[in-house]
Amino acid sequence: MAVEAESAETESRLHRLASRGWAPKALTFVSLLGLLAIWWIAAIIADSRVLPAPPAVLDALHRDAVTGELWFNLAMTLMRVFFAFVTAMVIGSAIGIALGMSASANRFFDPWLILFLNIPALVVIVLAYIWFGLNEVAAIGAIAVNKIPNVVVTMREGARALDPQLAEMAKVYRFGRAKTLRHVILPQLQPYFAAASRSGLALIWKIALVVELLGRSNGVGFQIHLYFQLFDVAAILAYTLAFVVVMLLIEFLLVQPLEARSTRWRPKRA
């Protein structure tokens, strides 16, 4: 029995070491390979222009990469996504937290929120362009306005679920506004913030595509719609992939390490 237990111990320690080292990276790699395989097989089965196989997409990617078009358009879109994202997250979080913490403010602004949530992107974008001109500010503003209500909704739920016990503690010990926000409220909102920003980045990029379609002369959305008119699916997928790769890099190099740091305190699960 003793021997049995001893070996168990050694084994499980090893296991844990592995899962801290190269194993997660390998898993991610296998996962990406799996995706590629599924795509390739599906393309072979479908055998149509509409679902090109990876080499065709790589070709298209390469074609636009050497002319520099890909980089330029990608950069333009990323620039718009970045500014719109920061604007939307800051404004949306502030409003969301305020509404979540005050029942009467929420009762007043809830109908407004629902209105802004449901205004079609098209309407906002067209109005922004017509009022503020076809410029970057209008474009970025329109994207942000589309996204803000979503951030508000998520952060509001978070603010509603805040622990009143910790708030009382902060009040008694006179934490003051800044300390309470930073050390008591924001850490509790972290999962909501994570949800809002992950799905937010994706949503913003999708709106950026429409914004570029309706009034910009560059960007991935511009290119994708051009290729849609030519029904060049390989090129569309090439641009999509380029953006997805950027998102994957952001996720693995930026978001996940940050998140691991900020949730270090949580009891680990198997």
Partner: protein, 252 residues
């Protein structure tokens, strides 16, 4: 991460609860190893009542979690008394579902066969008759602890683990609930293991007391109390407590 030395349950009649934890370490969030348990080995004979006493932070709750199968990352071996028996536990915190009323919290723990059990007597004796429809956030801590006790008693367990069950209660309520515990425990052949810091409580309730050292926990000594419970009057209790206090300094 599962420990292959799974509890081996006997096929037939209940046997003792056997606890052997030869080593338990936690890895802290900052990577530092915390050595919680050095070596603990003791038995709780079937149907008996054992109490665990040790300094705060020595590893008592950890031991209970290991017995419950909530932590299987340890070196050692656990043998549970019964294969099919029900286990009840009173955690150190009430651990109630905040979105369920006091009564629902108790009812949800009932096995299907007991679903429509009449709980009136139980709620009356723990002093919660008026509070059955309250949500946990509307209860004082002492009331919430009583709900947790009611939940453990309601399921008529064959193995009962209690982690400081009677703190945050006034003495009158605590006394009443200790009596209830003895009733529940003796009604069936329940094997019970209780953690407490209250030596008087331990002396009153237990068949044996296991004293633990500071962290990392080792056994400091095991005392068997074979006096009949009805004969444990106030005087005898005070004497025994004093005696134990002399031999295990700092427990009173």
């Amino acid at each position: 991460m599962s420990n292959p030395s799974k509890p081996v349950r006997p096929a037939g009649a209940p046997s003792a609860l056997e606890v052997l934890v030869r080593d338990k370490r936690f890895r802290g969030a900052d990577g530092v190893l915390v050595h919680a348990i050095d070596e603990i080995a003791f038995d709780v004979p079937a149907g008996s009542f054992t109490t665990l006493i040790g300094p705060s932070g020595c590893g008592k709750t950890t031991t209970l979690r290991i017995i419950l199968g909530l932590d299987d990352d340890f070196a050692g071996h656990i043998r549970l008394p019964e294969k099919e028996g029900r286990t009840a536990v009173v955690f150190q915190e009430p651990r109630l579902l905040p979105w369920r009323t006091a009564e629902d919290n108790v009812r949800l723990a009932l096995p299907d066969a007991m679903e429509s059990e009449n709980l009136d007597d139980l709620f009356a004796i723990v002093g919660l008759s008026e509070m059955r429809n309250r949500y946990p956030s509307e209860l004082s801590l002492g009331l919430a602890r009583r709900v947790a006790l009611a939940r453990a008693f309601a399921i008529k367990p064959s193995l009962l683990l209690l982690d400081e069950p009677f703190v945050s209660l006034d003495e009158m309520t605590a006394t009443r609930l200790r009596q209830l515990l003895v009733t529940v425990w003796s009604a069936r052949r329940t094997t019970a293991l209780m953690v407490t810091h209250n030596l008087r409580e331990a002396v009153q309730l237990s068949d044996r007391i296991v004293f633990l050292t500071e962290r990392p926990a080792r056994i400091r000594g095991v005392e068997v109390i074979d006096r009949d419970r009805s004969a444990r009057d106030a005087d005898w209790r005070e004497r025994t407590v004093r005696d134990l206090d002399r031999r295990y300094s700092g427990v009173l």
